[in-house]
């Protein structure tokens, strides 16, 4: 988990783009897809996103490894929509209470594709963006307060550490006779106890880290940046790309006559 956030070895083109440009692109695409519930706009965006995989250094295999719960959730969501949505058009399958019609199948498919199309850009962004670079961009370009940005960045490193600590505390407590067996109530009690142990450790670590940061002069007014966050021509292309995907999805759906605002 700690290394999962590390981009070492990923040489893809989009790793060199400014995180803010990538973030803007992702935001545009997600916004447009959140407006409609048809399958044409979703699948247009999805195809375009799949085409971007090599640029972000993502492969289908890597995607499956990282996002299989999301993918399965989208499939289940689509399937249940298809089953329970009101029938319209020819009925394709009828098993007692459940039936799938052309209309409900379309809705289910749209639902599934949309879920994927909204999730994918975020996964693409995470794959090709280093958290440190993101923090640099947020502080230097978006002008967010550096105390807040760098504080969050340092805290995020501790989150990975806490995942390891959770396992250790679990073992340490088993060695004291606190098991994860028994009734649901006993299990809940054991989990709460373990969470408290983790909380204590987290607070201690965090305060020691805060001392370390303060002792390195953190928290003063003026600071310089060892890494300059810059925009390049690539970022123009990234934003344009986001615009094109978003606009393409809308136009395709309007052209096919399937565009429908969610609130209608």
């Amino acid at each position: 988990m700690r290394d999962a956030l590390n981009l070492r070895g990923n040489q893809a083109l989009l790793t060199r783009a400014n995180p803010l440009a990538k973030f803007g692109s992702v935001f545009l695409i997600s916004l447009v897809l959140a407006l409609s519930i048809d399958w044409v706009s979703a699948s247009t965006a999805l195809v375009a996103e799949l085409a971007l995989f090599p640029l972000a250094g993502l492969t289908l295999r890597l995607l499956w490894q990282r996002a299989w719960p999301l993918i399965i959730a989208a499939a289940i969501g689509g399937w249940s929509t298809a089953i329970v949505a009101a029938d319209s058009g020819a009925v394709l399958l009828d098993v007692g209470l459940w039936s799938i019609s052309e209309g409900s199948l379309e809705l289910g498919l749209g639902f599934m594709l949309r879920g994927l199309a909204i999730a994918l850009p975020a996964i693409l962004l995470m794959t090709c963006t280093d958290p440190t670079d993101l923090a640099d961009a947020l502080a230097q370009k978006a002008k967010l307060p550096h105390r807040f940005v760098l504080g969050s960045l340092a805290a995020m490193r501790l989150v990975g550490l806490m995942a390891e600590e959770w396992q250790t505390i679990g073992m340490a407590r088993r060695a004291r006779g606190v098991g994860s067996q028994g009734s649901p109530f006993q299990r809940l009690k054991a989990t709460l106890g373990q969470s408290f142990g983790l909380l204590v450790q987290a607070v201690r670590r965090a305060s020691r880290l805060a001392v370390t940061m303060e002792a390195r002069g953190f928290g003063g007014g003026q600071r310089t940046w060892a890494r300059e966050s810059t925009y390049s021509l690539l970022d123009v292309w990234v934003v344009l790309g986001g615009l094109v995907i978003a606009a393409g999805a809308v136009l395709a759906a309007v052209g096919a006559g399937t565009w429908s605002f969610v609130w209608r």
Binding site: D3, Q65, R157, M171, A175, E214, G217, G219, R223
Partner: protein, 522 residues
């Protein structure tokens, strides 16, 4: 005053006059009546029993102690070059004990640059300082790891992390370097690594150095002065804060007995311990590991497939016998603790088996990992490296009663354990508020309260003072004589010598760099 010019380091002078500090929410001051002058470029080892206020002094010098707003209290004056430490960021650099919290950012280069950035050093200047600092602490030589600037900090060993912290401090070009037990959490190789890096750096920069550490022999030859703080400085007003002050050899001969009494590791001193009396020749086999492969990671799911973790060490066979000690040794990262935890029924083996003999299992099955928690604790007890991980209640007495109450027997042994491990006066205290040595003694006592036949200890002597060390070693030798099997993971040769028995030496990890990268990528 930001250190914007790249010029040589200007060593700092320290002067304390009647200085004292009371932490917010505490009735007594942590330190008071301190009169001390340290000249520019001096190297000082600060000694004194726990509670003498050593850490408080270092924190104050680093300018990270309290704010005007909270209700902590300062008396007298403490100045660096005639100015209060708080008003001059970057004049002093501080390294603390826990390597994990000495790292701020996730890439080596960025982490070293962090302090210099905060002091508003110009960008080009920062990177030349980063390169120089990494060279100075020896992290770029092939032997030191040959680290690239984008090397992930999470992949460093404890000794490397501390050297990285030193590099981060050097990049600020401080006139004063403060080390607060910098090697207490490290194995012997890591200790020397850090000590040598510190020596190289102070030799080069000429900065003033103040070290707090109770392993005197490590630092004795590096410092030119030892200052011993008064035990319990805070207890009485009017007593001088400094007990002894002078060249290392002089102080050590003057105060040898007093320092030994205070649990300081004076060079050449191995505390007296109880010797083993009846080490059995042939003893009952309790627990055996057969061709074991171990890992802390659980099997991972990759889509529909389940992938077993890459073992950190494999092919381990060992036997644990009643009344005999088994010591597990080996280099850093060899999987010693992982093996011990697997043997103790806390981790599932990746491959091979751990099997308990009938004498140990008493009818609950051969595989300790499958035992329920309360079945486990009365058979195999495990003492973790960090005592706090094992505290489950808010009171010392409850902590000791916890195991017996769950098992429904053994409460009568608690008083004896309290007595034996000198915890009786602390029964009502909160375990988290105890001192390091008390926490260690408590964690051993709580596990023993369940009366296990096998006791597993992970680095029990790490960072312990000489008194706790001797008590622990003597106590374990008694247990062994009484028939308990003791398995310990340790780097401490003197400790294993007291326990006797057999040594299991693990080689370097069987895991390759490639395995680790792959495991990390998923």
């Amino acid at each position: 005053m930001p250190a914007t010019n790249s010029g040589a380091v200007r060593p700092a002078a320290i002067s304390a006059e009647g200085w004292g500090w009371r932490h917010a929410g505490r009735a007594k001051p942590a330190i008071q009546g301190l009169d001390l002058r340290i000249e520019p470029g001096e190297r000082v080892l600060l000694l004194g029993p726990s509670g003498a206020g050593k850490s408080t002094l270092l924190h104050a010098l680093a300018g990270v102690l309290g704010d005007e707003e909270d209700d902590s209290d300062e008396t007298g004056s403490l100045l660096i070059d005639g100015v209060t430490p708080r008003e001059q960021r970057g004049r002093a650099g501080l390294m603390q004990q826990d390597p994990e919290t000495q790292v701020v950012l996730s890439r080596v280069g960025d982490d070293v640059a962090f302090g210099a950035e905060n002091l508003a050093v110009p960008r080009d200047e920062i990177w030349s300082r980063v390169h120089e600092a990494l060279d100075d602490v020896g992290l770029r030589t092939a032997a030191g790891g040959g680290l690239a600037l984008d090397h992930p900090t999470a992949a460093l060993s404890g000794g490397q992390k501390q050297r990285l912290a030193l590099a981060g401090i050097l990049a600020m070009r401080p006139g004063l370097i403060l080390l607060d037990e910098p090697t207490a959490n490290l194995d012997p190789a890591g200790v020397l690594e850090v000590r040598d890096a510190v020596k190289r750096c102070v030799d080069k920069t000429g900065a003033t150095l103040v070290v707090v550490e109770h392993r005197v022999s490590v630092w004795k030859d590096l410092v030119d002065r030892i200052v011993v703080l008064q035990p319990g400085t805070g207890s009485e007003a009017g007593t001088p804060g400094v007990l002894l002050d002078g060249p290392p050899d002089h102080v050590l001969s003057e105060a040898r007995t007093m320092l030994m009494g205070a649990g300081v590791w004076v060079p050449g001193y191995v505390p007296a311990t109880r010797a083993r009396r009846n080490e059995p020749r042939t003893a009952q086999l309790l627990l055996a590991a057969q061709d074991l492969s171990v890992s802390r990671e659980k099997p991972r799911r990759k889509g529909f497939r389940t992938i077993p973790p890459v073992p950190v060490q494999s092919g381990i066979s060992a036997q644990v016998r009643a009344g005999q000690a088994l010591t597990i040794t080996g280099p850093n990262g060899a999987g010693k603790s992982t093996f011990a935890l697997t043997l103790a029924g806390l981790l599932a083996p990746v491959d091979g088996t751990v099997s308990a003999a009938v004498e140990l299992s008493e009818g609950v099955g051969m595989d300790p990992f499958k035992w329920k928690a309360e079945q486990l604790i009365s058979r195999i007890g495990t003492v973790f490296q960090e005592p706090e991980h094992q505290f489950v209640t808010g009171k010392v007495l409850d902590e000791l009663m916890f195991g017996p109450r769950h098992l429904g027997h053994g409460e009568e042994r608690v008083d004896e354990l309290l007595e034996r491990l000198r915890l009786t006066h602390l029964v009502d205290a909160n375990p988290y508020t105890l001192s390091g040595g008390e926490k260690r003694r408590l964690s051993v006592a709580t596990v023993l309260a369940a009366h296990p036949k096998v006791l597993v200890l992970d680095e029990p002597t790490f960072g312990q003072d000489a008194n706790t060390w001797a008590e622990l070693a003597s106590f374990l030798s008694e247990l062994l004589d009484a028939g308990t099997a003791v398995v310990s993971v340790t780097h401490d040769q003197e400790f294993s010598a007291v326990l006797g028995g057999t040594e299991l030496q693990l080689g370097p990890s069987t895991r390759t760099e490639n395995d680790r990268q792959e495991a990390g990528a998923a």
